[in-house]
């Protein structure tokens, strides 16, 4: 059966019927869900997020043609591994931004440019997305980040220096910042 299913995934991709592919990969924080479209990586699910809910959301918002296949996740997997080993400071992966729009997308694109080992405040993110007063909205853009880790929302903190929030839980945010030598 395994062979049949592998063959099916390959044929679906070859015939343009694979709209969303997903797989899981290990991390020091637990298993991650990776999902991609033909455009690029669209979703990273953190260990404490329910994969079924994330996949159902992709089915509803992108396409119900969602299949599990490890094919073409090699680059993402390798870069994440290196990142967790502290040996990769900048991801180079095609991304699909479709799950975020307008202000949120601008916030996330700004976050994607925060260099490794540095942090910014929610206020700074609101400003760089073009609306300094929308701090709360910037915070919720971080909270709804569909591509965490790659789009490093863990580098955004409160102006006071407090950690703020994290979709993967605060211990993970702390761990990621320690890994980058920011905390600890």
């Amino acid at each position: 059966m395994r062979d049949s299913l592998d063959r099916l995934a390959r044929r679906a991709a070859a015939e343009g019927l694979l709209d969303v592919a997903y797989t899981s990969t290990d991390s020091p924080f637990g298993p991650l869900l990776l999902a991609r479209t033909r455009r690029g990586l669209i979703r990273v699910g953190l260990p404490n997020q329910d994969p079924e809910a994330l996949l159902a959301e992709l089915a509803a918002r992108i396409s119900p043609r969602v299949l599990e296949t490890p094919a073409e996740f090699d680059a993402a997997r390798r870069q994440l591994d290196l990142h967790f080993e502290g040996e990769l400071t900048e991801f180079d992966l095609p991304l699909d931004w479709r799950l975020s729009r307008d202000f949120r997308r601008r916030v996330l694109r700004s976050i994607a440019r925060i260099p490794y080992g540095q942090t910014r405040s929610y206020t700074e993110m609101a400003r760089s997305a073009g609306n300094e007063r929308a701090v709360r909205a910037a915070g919720s853009a971080c909270g709804s980040n569909p591509i965490p880790l790659i789009v490093p929302c863990h580098r955004v903190l409160r102006s006071s220096g407090g950690l703020g929030g994290y979709g993967g839980g605060l211990p993970m945010k702390q761990g990621l910042l320690e890994l980058e030598g920011v905390l600890g």
Binding site: S4, L8, E15, V20, L55, A59, A60, P64, R65, V66
Partner: protein, 153 residues
């Protein structure tokens, strides 16, 4: 937008049964080809499927259509349906040798009997699977059963 589940769910839940039905309908050697055709056809149509209510029945129907296409293309007689018995059926035909006899029926009758008793489809869905009217499906089923009874008597 639609609230269809991710297609992978259909595979996780029904691939085993679809494969069992196809092994029964076309034999082990050709089952995988029909399996591929079944799921590719389903994947093609899936986003436009309005109602996700009976996805299992929908897949089994496609599988039978692919099995019938396969037989038409090959223009050959069927392989026995033995394994189809694994599939749930509330109204099973009696034991053992029956499925071999089913396998020897003419294609439409065999398909109608298999769809009814192995896949538990109602007449309307059998008709849809066979591409004929419900009346014709009923007739094929009836003819097939009559013949089986005679052989078993």
């Amino acid at each position: 937008m639609s609230d269809l589940p991710p297609f992978q769910t259909l595979i996780d839940e029904h691939a085993g049964e679809v494969m069992a039905v196809l092994r029964g309908a076309v034999g082990r050697g050709d089952a995988d080809d029909c399996f591929q055709e079944t799921f590719l056809a389903a994947l093609r149509a899936y986003p436009r499927l309005g109602d996700g209510g009976n996805l299992r029945g929908w897949l089994i129907t496609i599988a039978h259509r692919k099995a019938i296409d396969h037989h038409r293309a090959r223009g050959r007689r069927a392989v026995p349906v033995a394994e189809v018995r694994e599939a749930a059926s509330e109204d099973p035909l009696p034991d053992e040798g029956v499925w071999e006899l089913v396998g020897a029926l003419p294609p439409k009758q065999r398909a109608a009997v298999t769809l009814r008793y192995a896949s538990d489809l109602p007449h309307a869905e059998i008709a849809a699977a066979l591409g004929c009217s419900p009346e014709a499906a009923r007739r094929s089923l009836h003819e097939g059963l009559k013949r089986l009874r005679k052989e078993l008597a």
